[in-house]
C-alpha cells in the first residue's frame, strides 16, 4: 500500500490574521512539503494542476522535476493532470521527460478539471468534457506505446508520422490513474484500459465513493484485467491531528469555519460525520482510514490532503511528522494483514518493467514451443 500527500496548491489567507502567503511562499511551501514526505517515509507526492487564482500549480512538471532532483525514493504524481484542456502531445512529452529525470518515479492522475472558464481559456468547450477526456487519453496512450503515430480525431490537429520524444523510460509508460468524483464514464474508462481509479474522497459522502469504485471494479473484471478485487484503487482523505482529539478540533475549527471551500455550510461535526474529513487524534485517523476499505475494498493508494484551508506550513509539517511516525506505519501493517491473497500493490516503474520482461520471456517461450512443435 502506498501513502502520500496531495496538494491543490491553493493560496488561502490565514483565518485569524487574514494574511495570505505570497505565490512564491506557497510554491516553496509545496516543495518543502514534498521533501518532507520523503523524509517521514511517505511514498507519494501529488500536485494539482490549475490555471486560475488562487492556485499556483499551473506547471506541475516543472515543480515535480525540481522535487525529483532533491529526492531519491518519492513517487511524483499529479492530482490531477487536465486531460481535457492540455494537448495530449505535450502531456506525453512532458511526463516522459519527467520520467527520465526522476528515474521512473512518476505516475499521473487524469482529471477533467472543475473550473468552468479554463475550458474556453484553452480553446475548448466544457460540454465536451467527457469526450475530450476519452479522445485525448486514447491519443496519449498511443503516443507512449507506438514509436510512430498517425492519428486523426475530433479535437486536435491530425498527426502524420509523429514520434513523441523522449520515448518512455525503458519503454514503459508511466502508470495512469483516472480521477473522477461523479462521472461513471471515467470509471468505465479506467476499467477499460486496466488503469487505476482514484476518488478524491474529500467533499463527498462515502455512499457516493462506494458506487463509483464498485462500478470501476465490476467493469475492470468485465474487460478481463483480473478479478474485481484486483483493480487498482486510490483514495484521498483529509486529516488534522493533535495527540488529544479535543485539541485538534479546537485548533482546526477556525480554519474550517473560514475556509472558502467549507465556510458557512455544515458544521465541522456534521462535515466529519458526512465526509471522510477526520479531525482528531492519530488513532482516530488510523481507525477512519482503515474503515475506507469497508467502503471500497482493499485498495492500493491513500493520499492525504494536509496543506489546505490556509494552514501555516509549520502546522502542515507537524501533521506530516505525525503521519510518518504514528499513522502510516500502523496503517501499512494493518492493511497488509487484511489484504487478501492476490490483491496487487500499486504498479510502479519497477513492477511494470518486471511485468514487461516477464511478458517478453513468455512470448519467447511460446514462440520456442511453437517452433519445437513445428520441428
Amino acid at each position: 500500500m502506498q501513502f502520500g500527500v496531495f496538494s491543490v496548491s491553493d493560496v488561502t489567507p490565514h483565518p485569524m490574521t487574514g494574511q495570505a502567503p505570497t505565490e512564491h511562499q506557497r510554491i516553496e511551501a509545496m516543495v518543502t512539503i514534498a521533501l518532507k514526505a520523503e523524509e517521514v517515509g511517505l511514498d507519494v507526492f501529488a500536485s494539482g494542476e490549475h490555471h486560475n487564482p488562487p492556485f499556483v500549480a499551473s506547471s506541475p512538471t516543472t515543480m515535480l522535476g525540481y522535487i525529483a532532483a532533491r529526492t531519491t525514493r518519492l513517487i511524483l504524481s499529479t492530482a490531477t493532470t487536465l486531460i481535457t484542456t492540455n494537448d495530449p502531445v505535450k502531456i506525453a512529452e512532458d511526463y516522459a521527460m519527467l520520467q527520465h529525470l526522476a528515474g521512473g518515479r512518476v505516475d499521473l492522475m487524469m482529471g477533467r478539471g472543475n473550473q468552468g472558464p479554463v475550458y474556453p481559456w484553452f480553446g475548448q468547450d466544457i460540454r465536451n468534457g467527457i469526450a475530450l477526456a476519452v479522445e485525448n487519453y486514447a491519443l496519449l496512450r498511443r503516443l507512449w506505446r507506438e514509436d510512430v503515430v498517425d492519428w486523426q480525431g475530433r479535437f486536435r490537429t491530425p498527426l502524420t508520422a509523429f514520434t513523441s520524444t523522449p520515448r518512455p523510460l525503458d519503454g514503459i509508460p508511466p502508470f495512469v490513474w483516472h480521477g473522477s468524483i461523479r462521472s461513471p464514464e471515467i470509471a468505465e474508462q479506467a476499467a477499460y484500459y486496466g488503469d487505476g481509479f482514484f476518488h478524491n474522497n474529500i467533499f463527498w459522502p462515502s455512499e457516493h465513493v462506494r458506487r463509483m469504485v464498485a462500478l470501476y471494479r465490476q467493469r475492470f473484471e468485465h474487460y478481463g484485467h483480473g478479478r474485481a478485487d484486483q483493480a487498482i484503487v486510490g483514495l484521498g482523505g483529509q486529516v488534522f491531528m493533535r495527540p488529544n482529539s479535543q485539541d485538534a478540533i479546537r485548533e482546526f475549527r477556525p480554519y474550517f469555519d473560514e475556509a472558502p471551500v467549507y465556510g458557512g455550510g455544515p458544521s465541522l461535526e456534521d462535515y466529519m460525520e458526512q465526509t471522510p474529513l477526520t479531525v482528531g487524534s492519530p488513532q482516530q485517523v488510523i481507525d477512519r482510514t482503515l474503515s475506507f476499505r469497508e467502503i471500497v475494498g482493499d485498495y492500493q493508494r491513500q493520499l492525504f490532503l494536509v496543506d489546505h484551508a490556509g494552514l501555516p506550513l509549520g502546522s502542515v509539517l507537524e501533521q506530516m511528522d505525525m503521519l510518518g511516525e504514528l499513522v502510516v506505519p500502523v496503517l501499512r501493517r494493518e492493511f497488509e494483514i487484511l489484504r487478501p491473497e492476490g490483491v496487487p500493490q500499486a504498479p510502479t516503474h519497477a513492477s511494470l518493467t518486471a511485468a514487461g520482461h516477464a511478458r517478453e520471456i513468455d512470448a519467447e517461450a511460446s514462440q520456442e514451443t511453437a517452433l519445437a512443435g513445428a520441428v
Binding site: I126, R127, A138, P184, Q189, Y271
Partner: protein, 213 residues
C-alpha cells in the same frame, strides 16, 4: 390492488400553513381518483421547511445531507408529484427553488406533476404559468393542464355552480393527476452505475453531453 407512489413537496413556512393545507387537499383528491381506478396510492409528504438548513448546507458544501439525499431519492422515484409553493415577489419561494435545483437535468423526466401555489391575492395566480410551469418544463416533467392557485379569499368562497372555485379546481387537478399517473408506465430512470455506457461507444464519440450547472 396496484400501488403507485405520490410525492408531495410543500414549501410553506408558517405553522399552520395554507400551502400545506392546499397540498393536503390536492393529495386527498388525487388519492380518491387513484382509488377509483383501483390504484393504491403511497404518499410521502416532503416539508421543505424541515430541510431549510440542509438545503443551504448543500449549496455551500456541494453535497446533500443523508436526510436531504433520501428526500430527493423519494421524489425521483415517485410515480407522481404534487409541488406547492407560496408565491413571493411574483415567483416561487427561494426554498422551493433550492430543492428543485438539486435535481439532475432529467430528474423529473416524464413524471406526472401537479403544480399549485398560494398567495395573498389572486393577482399572483399567473405565477404558476410564468414561473412554476417553465421550471418544470425545463426538468422535462409532464405537468397536468390544471394548476391550482389558492388566494386567501378562496378559502371562504364557493361559486354558485361550484365548477371553477377552489374546490372545483382541486377536484379537476386531482382527477388529471390521477389519470396521468394511471396512464404512465413505471419505468425506473436508467442508472448509469448499474447500466454504464460501454467504453467502445464512448470512444466512438457517443458521449452524452454534460449538463452545465
Amino acid at each position: 390492488m396496484e400501488r403507485r407512489s405520490l410525492a408531495v413537496v410543500t414549501a410553506g413556512l408558517s405553522q399552520p400553513s395554507s400551502t400545506r393545507l392546499l397540498a393536503d387537499r390536492l393529495t386527498d383528491a388525487t388519492e380518491r381518483f387513484l382509488r377509483e381506478r383501483a390504484i393504491q396510492p403511497v404518499v410521502t409528504v416532503l416539508e421543505l421547511r424541515d430541510h431549510a438548513q440542509d438545503l443551504t448546507n448543500n449549496l455551500l458544501a456541494g453535497f446533500p445531507s443523508p436526510r436531504l439525499h433520501d428526500s430527493v431519492g423519494t421524489l425521483v422515484a415517485a410515480d407522481g408529484l404534487i409541488a406547492v409553493s407560496p408565491i413571493f415577489n411574483a415567483s416561487y419561494s427561494g426554498l422551493f427553488k433550492l430543492f428543485f435545483d438539486l435535481l439532475e437535468r432529467d430528474g423529473l423526466a416524464s413524471k406526472p406533476v401537479l403544480l399549485a401555489a398560494t398567495g395573498g391575492t389572486a393577482r399572483h395566480s399567473l405565477a404558476l404559468e410564468h414561473a412554476l410551469r417553465p421550471l418544470f418544463a425545463y426538468l422535462n416533467a409532464a405537468t397536468v393542464p390544471t394548476a391550482v392557485f389558492a388566494a386567501s379569499e378562496d378559502w371562504g368562497q364557493r361559486a354558485a355552480d361550484g365548477a371553477d372555485d377552489l374546490v372545483g379546481r382541486i377536484e379537476r387537478a386531482g382527477r388529471e393527476l390521477a389519470s396521468s399517473i394511471a396512464a404512465s408506465s413505471r419505468g425506473a430512470p436508467s442508472d448509469p452505475f448499474t447500466d454504464p455506457i460501454p467504453f467502445d461507444r464512448l470512444l466512438g464519440g457517443n458521449v452524452r453531453s454534460e449538463t452545465m450547472k
